[in-house]
Structure formats: C-alpha cells, structure tokens
Symmetry: none
Subunit: 141 residues, 4 copies
C-alpha cells in the first residue's frame, strides 16, 4: 500500500489545522513515500524560508532508518557520533528529533513518513500524528 496524493494532502491540511488549534508557530509539513521521496509539501505563510530542508530531514531519517524521531533522538543522546555518522552516509539529510513520524499500514509495514517543523519538536510531532490519523493511517512519533 502506498500513500496516495489525496491522502498526503489530507495529512498536510489536518496537521496544519492542528497547529492552528494548538496556536503553534507557522508549520511546514512534508509527506515522503516508502523510498524517502517527496509526495507533497507545504510551508505556511510566515514560516522561515529554509523549512523544507528541516521537514524533509526529519522524515527522511525516519524512513531510511525505519526509526521515528523520538527513537533517533534517544540514540543521538546516547551515541552522538553514531547519528553523526548516519547523517554522513545519508548525505547530511537526517534531522534526528521528534517531528519525524513513521507512517504504517494496517499490517504494520512502513509506507512513508511525515516531517513537521516550526514549533517545538514535541508540538511538531503532535501535529504530524493528528494529520496521519485524520487520513486513516497509523503514526509512530
């Protein structure tokens, strides 16, 4: 099962609505497929220009390692040099903090990831989960 563009749009809209409800700073949201490639992205008006790279880095590490942002952060805190090395092998495209959320299908297989950035990492992750659930999928933050 792949994330369709229709579902990716739902994820982005609902994550942004959640951010507005929670009164977060302007969010940026990316949805990647199971190969780590971009399906859709939106940056809210007022967000800093470089937000694509942060959102993508959060989601990319999640897909490539099969490990959500919180687990990556725990590993980075235990073994900073390991996550630095991982970042090297993936061309600098990994941002190991919450806000990178794995998307799973009903059988538990990873079918992509969502990256949210703009507020604190924990709030970013909460908005991502809201978007993923609204699309009828299961997120792992």
């Amino acid at each position: 099962m792949a994330i369709s563009l229709r579902r990716a749009r739902t994820i982005i809209r609902k994550a942004m609505e959640k951010g507005q409800e929670m009164e977060l700073k302007p969010l940026s949201v990316v949805v990647l497929d199971a190969g780590g490639h971009v399906i859709a992205f939106e940056r809210s008006d007022g967000a800093a220009p470089g937000r694509f790279a942060i959102a993508q880095g959060k989601a990319y590490g999640a897909v490539m390692l099969g490990m959500a942002g919180r687990a990556q952060m725990a590993r980075a805190e235990q073994q900073a040099y390991f996550m630095a090395a991982v970042n090297g092998v993936y061309g600098g495209q990994v941002v190991p903090v919450p806000g990178g959320v794995l998307v799973r299908d009903r059988k538990g297989a990873v079918i992509g990831a969502v990256g949210v950035t703009g507020d604190t990492s924990d709030n970013d992750a909460e908005a991502a989960l809201a978007g993923i659930e609204a699309a009828g999928l299961t997120g792992e933050a």
Copy 2:
C-alpha cells in the same frame, strides 16, 4: 509581493488539471519563492519517485538566474559548458529546459518560479502557465 501558500495551492491544482485535460502523463509541480525556497510541491500518483528534484531544478535555475527555462535551454544549446558551469556553482540544482517558469508580479518583478515535470518539456511549461494564470499571476516560460 510574495506568493502566498493559498496561491501556490491554486497554481499546483490548476497545473495538474490542465495536465489531465491535455491527457499528459502524471505531473509533479513545485512552487518556489523569490529566494528559490520551496513553498509547496505535489507529485501525482503514478509519477516516478525522483520527480521532486527535476521540478525543483527547473524552477530553481529560473529564479537564481532570473531566466526562464526556454532562455536557459537556448543558452545551453549555444554554450553547453556555460550551463554546466552554472549548474556547478548552484550545487547541481539546475535543470535548464522548459517547464521552469518565472512568476512575475504586476510591476514585472520576479516573485518566484514554478517547475513542472512529467510530460514533454513544452507540455510541462504549458501546464505551468495555466496554473500561474489561474492564480492571477503572470508567467514567463
């Protein structure tokens, strides 16, 4: 004047609708701001996974050089080594063919660019122009 996220969404949807009307292959569309940074991107179901980089490269070269895809292609045909060198200084992020379309405001200032990829370069450019016009802006292909 900046391209708002609302307008970027209109550009993407209308470019994709134009593609469906013209019976093109599945399109991918990116909208960049005046600094070459991503505002929004969508990849149609059925498009190849690597389409983000192609769409972004078409639009990025347009913004950074202030030169639309057709003018870049003409220069590449006259002086292939020049466009190769330009690509080098911009980190390999330039795809000098039609489908990279400058977006101008009423006074003629460049406020961003749209990159479309998926069908022939000329058809890609036509879809981009349709999206830009639907958003009340002026495109230069």
Copy 3:
C-alpha cells in the same frame, strides 16, 4: 520590503566604524536578503582570508531558520546533534553563534540578515546591530 544595496552599504560601513570605535580586530560583514542570498560583503584589510564563509554562515543560518545567532547558540548548547544535523541539511553553511543578526521591517517580518566576524561573537553582534540601526532597520541578535 527588501534591503536595498544602498542600505546594505550603510550597514557594512557603520558596522565597521563601530568596530573601529570599540577597537575590535578587523571585521568582515555580509548582508543577505530574505532568501539567504548575498547582497553585499566587505572584508577589512588585515582580516584572515576565510572570513567570507564565516560571516555568510552566521547570517545564512539566521535567515533560513528564522532564528538569530544567540538563539541558535542556545539550541546548539542544549542539543549539539540537532544543530549539527541542521548544518547538514543546509550544506554545511550554518555557523550558530552571535554575530548572525536578523533584520526585520517595521511589521516584524524578516527581510534579511547580517553576519559579522573578526572579534568575539558578542562584539561581532554589537557591531552588526550598530550597522542595522544606522540604516533605520531593526536587528535581533
């Protein structure tokens, strides 16, 4: 509102004059636009040859993240691996210390950033702020 070349020149000259008044080491000063692209740069006689990259890195991170040097430094001290990862996604172009100063217009929107390097980070930031104020703009260090 964009920073004009005239204003960028004023920022650079006044930042350098401030450095002379404070008897700082020879300064180098860059002014970037809202997309992180260079408007103007000057390196004082006697400064080390590699100063462009340091000045640019201080200002670039500020614009791309919408976060001034002091806030970046605080984040780097809390989560070193996070700022290392951010540096990766921005191609190694981020120097997260004071001296990278956001420039805001009257409504508070970020319209660019100034990067100063040559003396201590705090003195660099003070010189940047002096230049920005002399140009009639508001800095956030």
Copy 4:
C-alpha cells in the same frame, strides 16, 4: 602587493557606473584576492538572487588557473571535457566565460581577480576592466 578594501570598493563602484553608462542590465561585482578569497561584493538592486555564485565563479577560475575568462572560454570550446574536469577539481566553482578578469600589479604579478555578471559576457568584461583601471590597476579580460 595586495588589493586593499579601499581599492576593491573603487573597482566595484566604477564597474557599476560603467554598466549604467552603457545601459547594461543590473550588474553584480566581486573582487577576489590572490588566493581566490572574497574581499568585497555588491549586487545591484533588481539583479537575480543567485548572482554572487556566478560572479565568484568567473573570478575564482581566473585566479586559480591564472587564466582570464576569455582564455578559459577558448579552452572550453576546444576541450569541453578539460574545463569540466577543472570545474570538478575546484568543487564546481569555475564559470569559464568573459567577465572573469585577472588583476595584475605593475610587475605583471596576479594579485586577484574581478568577476562581473548581469549582462552579456563581453559587456560584463568591459565593465570589469573599467573598474580595475579606475583603481589604478591593470586588468586582463
């Protein structure tokens, strides 16, 4: 002998004045030292955002190879693969066309280079030469 900041400023201002006299498009001008490092840069209002990289690439190749833009272009036309390889070893930072002008002292030693971009390559080179002469130095286009 090194190019002082005072002289670099003169080069930039006079190159830009020459561009206005000749009614060229908005120019961007960089001055590099004998090691290929930036002394000063200015981008005219209205120039495309990516002009720093093009100006720098024209001047950088000139200094690093000790060969002005016209000679680089001739070589690129004869042996495209050679200039492509040169570009590779210099990290993609070489733009081998006119507008990259060597600066020599009275004894003929290379003390830096000027890179101008914005109009045709030949017009860019003419503006660079005007700036270099106004600063009492000798240019080789």
